[in-house]
Structures are given as C-alpha cells and as structure tokens.
C-alpha cells in the first residue's frame, strides 16, 4: 500500500494552531470531518476515541513524530490526516521530546489487515531522516501533499 492511498489531501494542516495534544487531535479530526472523510462517524465521537486510545499508550514513537490512530465502524476506508506543528506539541512520546509531525489514522473495524498495511507505509516513510526533515519543513498543504506523493515514487527519499 502507498501512503498516498490513505492520505486525505483536504485534511493536511501545515500550521496546527493548538499547542496541546488533545487540541491537535481535535484539529485533525475536524479537518477529516470537513473533508467528508469520516463516513457516518461523528467528529466528536472520533475525537474522544482517539484521545482515549492515546491515554492508554502514546503513539509518539520518538524522533518528533506521532501517529494517533483508532478503528471505528463509521468509516468504510482507511483515511489519514497530516498535521505540522511549528512550535512542537507534547505527546508524552517515548523519547519525551516534542512532536512536530502528526499523522492521524482512522481505520474501519472489520479490516485489520488494511490498517496494518497503512501503518506499514506510514512508518516506512517516517523511518527515513529525510522524509521527517522535509515533512517538518514543508510550509504549505501543497508542499506536504507533494512530499507524500514523491515519497511513494522515490523510496530513497
């Protein structure tokens, strides 16, 4: 699977306004909702579920990135929103460092394999120093969208 298969291009926020984890999650879920990507799920319900999941164990895996995610029966396909925080946000990350790039992923409940494949493609890119660096530096939604598409085409990025 490619990361561009799941990214919702109308839900790329290059300048997250919130300075808190829950605020950032709210911004990203609302962006997906505004793009009509949440199916029959309500944004409020998704926000609550993502925060609950995040409280159980942080998805901030270090190196300035976090990938909050849940499964929900309201969505029919895996969708992702991407957010960039210039100032950084505390995500209770494993390395205790702030997070600058957040990829929020919502997957249907009944397709665990698709969820795993989406996570694989996201982490394949996030593993790369260059991808993380470019993601952090991209100042517009268009630049982030280009980066995502380029990363799929050029695995050395």
């Amino acid at each position: 699977m490619k990361i561009s298969d799941v990214v919702c291009y109308d839900a790329i926020l290059p300048d997250l306004q919130s300075s808190t984890r829950d605020g950032v999650i709210t911004e990203l879920v609302k962006a997906l909702d505004g793009a009509g990507a949440l199916g029959t799920a309500s944004a409020d319900e998704i926000i609550k579920s993502v925060i609950k999941r995040e409280n159980e164990a942080s998805t901030g895996l270090g190196r300035g990135v976090a990938v909050p995610h849940i499964k929900h029966n309201g969505v029919k396909k895996v969708v992702a929103a991407i957010g960039r925080s210039v100032a950084g946000v505390s995500f209770a990350s494993l390395d205790k460092q702030p997070v600058y790039s957040i990829i929020l992923l919502i997957s249907p409940i009944d397709d665990p394999d698709k969820h795993l494949q989406a996570m694989e493609s996201i982490f394949r890119h996030l593993q790369r120093d260059n991808f993380r660096k470019f993601l952090r530096q991209s100042q517009s939604a268009a630049a982030i969208a280009d980066l995502v598409k380029e990363a799929d085409e050029n695995p050395s990025l």
């Binding site: 270090g62 190196r63 665990p112 795993l116 996570m119 694989e120 593993q127």
Partner: protein, 95 residues
C-alpha cells in the same frame, strides 16, 4: 561471554495482527534481554527492539515471522517472545 544464536519461527495468531500495541509489547519483552534481536517476515528484516521498525512489519493474522536472537541470553529471549506471540497472543486472542 559465549555468543549464542537462537532462531525460531512464530505465527501471529491474534486476529488484529501485529498492530502498534502488540508491537510495543514485543519491543518491551525483547528489550529485557541483552541479546540483539532481529525479526523477519518475507522481505523485511527489522530490529526487534525498535517500535517503528516492528510496526513496519505489518504482520497480519497468520503471518509467520522468524525471530533471531544473538547474545548471552538468546535462548531465553526467543522462549519469552514465543510465549508472548503464540501463547499469550499479545493478550488479545480470539474471544
């Protein structure tokens, strides 16, 4: 100290596969051992102590993984990891 190499194959048995929470459990268990631990599916070989790399395996239900431990406690490490993956099934086996 003797350098022991121990290698086993395990199968992912919990329905949701190796998603982030099980991957974290795996890394937590692997990290309790001094040995180097690598995990491979068909094409990928990853560090069993790296949460990002383990998540990248995308090991779905039924996937077979090779776990290779190298170091003084390699035998104990693979026993503990087999227990986690196949017996405890990451505490989320079929209801």
């Amino acid at each position: 100290m003797a350098k022991v190499v121990s290698e086993i194959e395990v199968q992912i048995r919990n329905p949701d596969g190796l998603h982030m929470r099980p991957a974290m459990q795996f890394v937590d268990t692997a990290s309790q051992f001094a040995s180097d631990i690598s995990v491979s599916s068909n094409e990928n070989v990853v560090d069993g102590k790296s949460i990002m790399q383990m998540t990248m395996l995308a090991a779905t239900h039924g996937t077979k993984l090779k776990i290779k431990a190298q170091g003084p406690d390699a035998d104990q490490a693979v026993v503990a990891l087999r227990e986690l993956v196949e017996v405890r099934q990451f505490d989320e086996g079929q209801a």
